[in-house]
Amino acid sequence: MTPHAPAIIVNETMDSDHDDAPDNETSAVVTRHPHAERSHHLRILEAILFAATQPVGLDKLVGHLPANTDVAALLETLRENYANRGVNLVQLAGKYMFRTAEDMGFVLRKETTEQKRLSKAGLETLAIIAYHQPVTRAEIEDIRGVAISKGTLDILLDIGWAKMRGRRKSPGRPVTYGTTEAFMQQFGLNEITDLPGLQELKAAGLLDGNLPPG
């Protein structure tokens, strides 16, 4: 171990064996035998746990250190050493391993956004659901004049823009669909009655009947 300037080393090296002694003698690591030994044991545990491909049991760790070493206490020191670091020593099913800190999860995830557009059929179906909700599949098909594929509705349900609202009280009790909060957010609507152009479309005779609110 290379000698360092006082005070700094103890902290910077995170050496757990640094003392609370008032003189704060850092050379303690080198000169005070028990501490040096303890530090050496901590290093061994660190290296083993770091290189391990799986969590390591206490029994295995004990095997790498001299008999009568209080491995559990050393592990506790190590756990404390790493408690506030980007990597923590954790216990899984009673075994020990290093794990990136929970709040550091974001560095392990890469979020990519994929720009997509709905298919024409999807957009049309969504519009019909929005304007005619609650609306059954048969009614959507009636308005579109074409059958809709199962996938089209599924995509809308999957994105979270459409949802099942209930069942029509008619023979077969068909499921009805409506739009969601997420739909309102995506298209910048406060209420379903805000659908701009609705009145205009109605006045233009493009729509008939009454649109149920929300």
């Binding site: 890469k110 709905l118 519009a127 019909i128 004049g145 493009l206």
Partner: protein, 273 residues
């Protein structure tokens, strides 16, 4: 030559394996002869011979080395051992070099001096020795997966793809209006294909229903069962309205509407019973 064998540094043979050939050679230089195939070419053999002098390769006596090599070759030949051709080529070259070194003659045109040739040989031996030592030093370094290790259980990057839809309200309205418009257009042009309730059908139906129409009721109420099919609704309403006007004119039915565009009611004309 009877001195105890030099000990090679551990780093000399990075694979850690002891070299039986060399150990034997060190124990008794004569046994060097036994396994000539163990040497990797004449340069390797020369280097081994040179190393036995335990002197700085830069200051080695080339003449002495040549003598040793030639003596070695002679011994091998006497034992009738197979020798690769390049050992013999080297022997010939060394013999020539020695003669040039001992009897200095002005070099021929374009030929190096004997001293240069000797220096070159010494350099090659030095360089080979240097590379051997470097190889040893390199292999003695802490190696990844042998003495030093990367994280045993790395936590690889998880890639989360987020779909982002760029569809806007305008897109939504456009397709909707388009679809509705298309539908209207198609309805007016393909009217023949639509199921239609003829006025005649409507009149016959109304005439059948008229017996029960004692109270005011809307068309939708009276014709409920005919309106069940969505495609027919418009046609049923239109045709029955027209038919009803005929029946009113004939004094069979009465129509009532409280205000403009309000619901239209009809019933059997009481006196017509």
């Amino acid at each position: 030559m009877t001195e105890s064998p030099p000990t090679f540094p551990a780093s000399d043979w990075p694979d850690g394996a002891t070299d039986p050939r060399r150990n034997a050679a060190m124990a008794d230089p004569d046994t060097l002869i036994v396994d000539v195939a163990g040497f990797e070419g004449p340069l390797d053999l020369l280097l081994e011979l040179a190393r036995q002098h335990k002197v700085d390769l830069a200051r080695i006596s080339i003449v002495a080395l040549v003598d040793q090599y030639l003596a070695y070759m002679e011994k091998v030949r006497s034992l009738r051992l197979e020798l690769a051709a390049d050992y013999l080529v080297m022997a010939a070259w060394l013999a020539y070099l020695k003669s040039r070194l001992l009897i200095p003659l002005p070099p021929k045109e374009g030929e190096a001096t004997a001293q240069d040739m000797a220096a070159r040989l010494a350099f090659r031996l030095q360089r080979l020795q240097a590379m051997r030592e470097a190889s040893g030093q390199l292999m003695a370094r802490p190696q990844l997966g042998r003495e030093v290790f990367f994280r045993g259980a790395p936590e690889p990057l998880v890639i989360e793809t987020q779909r982002e839809y760029s569809d806007t309200l305008i897109d939504l309205l456009k397709v909707y209006a388009e679809r509705r418009a298309k539908k209207m257009v198609r309805q007016s042009y393909t009217v023949k294909r639509q199921p239609v309730w003829s006025i005649k059908e409507a009149r016959e139906t109304l005439e059948r229903l008229i017996g029960g129409m004692n109270e005011w009721g809307t068309f939708d109420v009276w014709l409920e069962r005919y309106l069940a099919t969505p495609e027919l609704r418009r046609s049923v309403r239109a045709s029955s309205f027209t038919a009803s006007l005929e029946l009113v004119r004939e004094g069979v039915l009465e129509l009532r509407q409280d205000t403009a565009f309000d619901q239209l009611y009809l019933r059997r004309r009481p006196t017509a019973a």
